[in-house]
Structure formats: structure tokens, C-alpha cells
């Protein structure tokens, strides 16, 4: 297997842009990445497009995007894994490049949720839980309540995640929300699913992100500061007779452990993390699932400021899904774009000093009986 490098990245600002078209947003992200990489569009050998087929724009969206950017005729693969569609597209492209099939590939994640109107994402009706009124916020509300019950985690600890990520987002010109919030504002915000108010929940939105990856054989031709993909792992949730432990997230544990083994990098070596904070409780229990602390200690990490931008291990310097935004298919690629900028020292006001190693963690989908649907972990190094 060959080494694989990221040689170019780009993204749009995330937000609500109902007047824009998705291929147009994707084109802008792609051209930023292409220029960043210093390659011509027609040098791209294959394109992997992560999206969730929203709003009837979904079928063959990858082909529509690539037509817009002017690159046609090459292999184009549409990849859907709900919220981890973009990172699953990266995983697919990584496999193709490391195995020698291609030398140069493009990954684009794109989504436009604003055209669907307001509200929570509609649950799947074929799942018993979705059919009977479970929503994503309500699922994580139940995770939060059980985590509080077993480990003494408090709602204020969860709110501190939102405070931190909004503060980081206020420094990020690509973020949907660039405004700080206070504990009081979070507590007084409208309740979505008790105990989570709307400021414990990520927004829906629109945007696109892109990355150009390259084999180790070819990288010298293109880039003077490539970022290595030291591990690329995808796992799905496991089924255990419908017995769900809400306080843990088995496939995040398995995916991160495998990524640590492949790369020889441990959680203590990481300089920054972009993780899937779809809800505040998710960030807290992923501290535990990713091995930053022992089980049940996630609340303590946020209390002690260890995951602040200036802390021991900054988490979600971009603002995370909570503040940067969460256009499903774009999210996993946008996380990787953020880490690349930090590892190059190009992250502006939110730069994590001297960052050498970063981890991106992306999670997708509630499926009945599974501990969520899909999980990717990517470890990037300078």
C-alpha cells in the first residue's frame, strides 16, 4: 500500500444559502482546492462525491458537480453515509489511491438543506423509532439523560461545549455562526428535546468542501507541503439484539482504536481534533470514545478547559458542527480541510500553535438497533 497525501483543500462558508445551487457551491470549493494543490482540473483521475441526495437534487449530483467544474468522463462515484458521507467519500478515495488504482483524486462533500425548509431532519419511517417520533435531537437527549444518570454529568457541562464551540466559531470566517453565546442564553433557548435546548443542537445548513489527494509516488511533482493521511478508517454500528448502551459509542471506539494502531499515533499525541459534535452531549461522550479520558470523565475535560483552543487538546477549533454548521455531506470533508489548515499554520485567528497531528471524527445516522450507522476516523500529519 502506498502513502497518500492531501495536497489541496477548499471550502465555502457554511450557512443558509437557498438561492445558491449546490453544483455552484461545490465548484467554488473544488476550484479553491485545485488552485491550492496547483494542479489542473483535467489532471484529476477520479472524483468521489459525498452527499445525502437532499431535495431531489441528489441523483447523480456528483456528475452534475463535475460537469459544472468541467471535468467529465472520469470515474465519478456518489457516496452516501448520511452525516459521514463526505468522510466516507474520502475513505473510498484513500483506498483507491493507496492501492495504486489512481494517483490523483478529488473528494467533494456538498449539501443544501435550506431548500428543504425548517425543522429537524425527517426520521426514517421504516425504522420503528423514527416511525414513532424519535428524532436525532431526542435520541441524543436520551443519551444525555443516561450519561447524567450514570456519571453525574451536568447540563452546565454540556452547555460549556456550546460556549466553547461558538467562541471558536466566532474566530472562523467559514462558520455559519460567528457569534459567542453565554450559559444563560443556552439555558433559556427554546427546548428541543429535554434536556437539550436549541443551542445544544447543531444547525442545518448548506455548503461544500473539497480536497485533492495524491499518491506518495506522485506527491513530489505537486506539493512542497503535503499533509499525510496516516490513517483512514470506516466502521458501521453493531447490532446486539436491540440492546443499546446509550452512554457509549462502540463504532467510534473501534474506528479510533484501529486508526491509532495503523498510524502508531495515540490520543496523547494529537494536537487537535475535529469531532462530530452534532449535539453537546456527543462531544462529551466522544472525548471518552476517542480515548481522551476514561469513560464518564468527559464532563471533567470541558470543566477544566482541556479542550479549549488554548487547552491541552483543542477540540473543534473550527467551531464544530454546533457553530461552524452541519451540511451533512460537506461536514466530513470540511473537518479535514480545517485540520489541513492548522497543520500548515493557515488557520488564522483560531490557529492551534505548532500543530503537527490532527484527528477528524465523523459520525452518521441513527439506525434502529445499531449504535448509529457509520463512523470515520482520519488521522492527518505534517
Amino acid at each position: 500500500m502506498r502513502d497518500v497525501y492531501i495536497i489541496g483543500v477548499g471550502m465555502t462558508r457554511l450557512g443558509k444559502f437557498p438561492e445558491a445551487t449546490l453544483p455552484d457551491m461545490a465548484r467554488r470549493a473544488f476550484y479553491d482546492a485545485i488552485k491550492d494543490a496547483g494542479v489542473k482540473p483535467n489532471a484529476i483521475e477520479a472524483a468521489f462525491i459525498g452527499h445525502v441526495r437532499q431535495g431531489g437534487q441528489g441523483a447523480m449530483l456528483g456528475q452534475r458537480i463535475m460537469r459544472e467544474v468541467g471535468v467529465t468522463g472520469i470515474p465519478i462515484l456518489n457516496v452516501e453515509n448520511i452525516c459521514s458521507s463526505g468522510s466516507s467519500a474520502l475513505w473510498t478515495a484513500f483506498g483507491m489511491v493507496t492501492s495504486g488504482r489512481f494517483d490523483l483524486a478529488a473528494i467533494i462533500g456538498a449539501e443544501q438543506l435550506s431548500i428543504l425548509g425548517k425543522g429537524v431532519l425527517p426520521p426514517r419511517q421504516e425504522d420503528l423509532e423514527g416511525l414513532q417520533g424519535a428524532t436525532l435531537p431526542s435520541y441524543f437527549a436520551m443519551v444525555a439523560r443516561r450519561h447524567m444518570h450514570e456519571y453525574g454529568t451536568t447540563i452546565e457541562q454540556l452547555a460549556k461545549v456550546s460556549v466553547k464551540n461558538h467562541k471558536n466559531g466566532s474566530l472562523n470566517p467559514y462558520a455559519q455562526f460567528q457569534k459567542e453565546v453565554t450559559l444563560e442564553e443556552i439555558a433559556r433557548a427554546p427546548m428541543v428535546a429535554d434536556p437539550l435546548t436549541v443551542l445544544h443542537c447543531c444547525p442545518t445548513g448548506d455548503g461544500a468542501a473539497a480536497a485533492i489527494i495524491c499518491s506518495g509516488d506522485a506527491v513530489k511533482r505537486f506539493s512542497s507541503k503535503p499533509i499525510k493521511i496516516a490513517a483512514s478508517v470506516l466502521k458501521s454500528g453493531t447490532y446486539d439484539g436491540g440492546w443499546r448502551d446509550l452512554t457509549t459509542n462502540d463504532h467510534t471506539i473501534r474506528a479510533s482504536q484501529e486508526a491509532y494502531e495503523i498510524s502508531g499515533i495515540g490520543p496523547e499525541d494529537l494536537d487537535l481534533i475535529e469531532l462530530h459534535d452534532c449535539f453537546t452531549i456527543a462531544e462529551v461522550f466522544h472525548y471518552e470514545n476517542l480515548g481522551l479520558c476514561k469513560k464518564g470523565d468527559g464532563g471533567r475535560l470541558i470543566d477544566e478547559g482541556q479542550t479549549d483552543l488554548t487547552g491541552r487538546i483543542p477540540v473543534n477549533p473550527s467551531g464544530g458542527l454546533l457553530a461552524k454548521g452541519h451540511p451533512l455531506g460537506a461536514t466530513g470533508v470540511a473537518q479535514v480541510v480545517e485540520i489541513v489548515w492548522h497543520l500548515r499554520g493557515e488557520a488564522g485567528k483560531r490557529q492551534v500553535p505548532n500543530a503537527k497531528i490532527g484527528l477528524a471524527h465523523c459520525l452518521g445516522g441513527v439506525v434502529d438497533g445499531l449504535d448509529l450507522g457509520a463512523c470515520t476516523v482520519h488521522i492527518l500529519t505534517v
Binding site: 417520533g133 428524532t135 431526542s138 436520551m142 428535546a193
Partner: protein, 143 residues
């Protein structure tokens, strides 16, 4: 005849094969689980194939009607097509299955993790023809 048809409202389970609707006196509602005849793996909702040993020899068994509330939430912002607030949760049954359920007969102060709950059937919603869609629910045990 057409008018008469309209007035006959039926009771329809939210999904076939999930629970028993009592047909006469003495019969009680219950949930149905599947148990693998080979390795005894138990599942709710019932499965066609065992997730442990891949056997297709599954039997349907009635599950206990009493359980403990593992976690819950009061949903203020409802799923599309539903009206909030409503309460949902996970209920642990003694057989070792954790069942997702709508909660019934709750109030904001009474719900707590670990409380005893019992099975009941109740209306989920009406369909376009006015038929009552029923589903299983768990409610706090009084007293």
C-alpha cells in the same frame, strides 16, 4: 353503502407482528420478540435471521409487560407530522431487551430514570380514513 363504510373505523396496529391486541376478556396485550431456536438470542423488534449465529429458525415469544425506564426525553420539537410535546424512552425488559417506546400517562415531574413502567396500548394517530393507528406504549406504574 359508501356512507356506511366511512363510519366504520378500524383499529390498525402501527406495524403487524409487534404486539398482541387483546381480542377478548382475559387476554392481555404484550410485545412479541424473536428468539433464535439455535442460540437463544432474543430480539425486539422480531428478526427473521439471528444476528449471532445466522440461523433462520426463529420463534416468536411474548415479552414481559413490566420493565424499567432506561432513559427518556420529552420531545418539544416534534418529528414531522406529529404534535409535541410527547415523551419517548427506552425500557429494559427482564428478558434482556431494551425497547424503544412512546411513554403514556406521564407528567413532567413524574418521569425518572430507573422507574418501573408497564406496557399499555394506545392511539398513535389517525390515518386519512379516520382509522385509529395503535401502538405499544409504556406508562409509569402507579403506587
Amino acid at each position: 353503502m359508501a356512507d356506511q363504510k366511512k363510519t366504520v373505523k378500524r383499529i390498525i396496529p402501527i406495524r403487524e407482528g409487534l404486539f398482541r391486541i387483546p381480542s377478548g376478556s382475559g387476554e392481555k396485550p404484550c410485545l412479541f420478540g424473536s428468539r433464535c431456536k439455535m442460540c437463544r438470542q432474543l430480539s425486539f423488534p422480531p428478526r427473521k435471521v439471528c444476528s449471532e449465529c445466522f440461523s433462520e429458525e426463529m420463534e416468536i415469544i411474548p415479552l414481559s409487560t413490566d420493565g424499567k425506564l432506561y432513559s427518556y426525553t420529552i420531545v418539544e420539537y416534534p418529528a414531522p407530522g406529529l404534535v409535541g410535546p410527547y415523551a419517548i424512552g427506552y425500557v429494559d425488559l427482564p428478558e434482556g431487551v431494551r425497547v424503544f417506546s412512546i411513554l403514556a400517562d406521564w407528567d413532567r415531574k413524574s418521569l425518572r430514570v430507573g422507574m418501573n413502567v408497564e406496557l399499555t396500548l394506545g392511539k398513535f394517530k389517525e390515518d386519512k380514513e379516520g382509522n385509529e393507528i395503535v401502538t405499544y406504549k409504556f406508562r409509569p406504574v402507579v403506587g
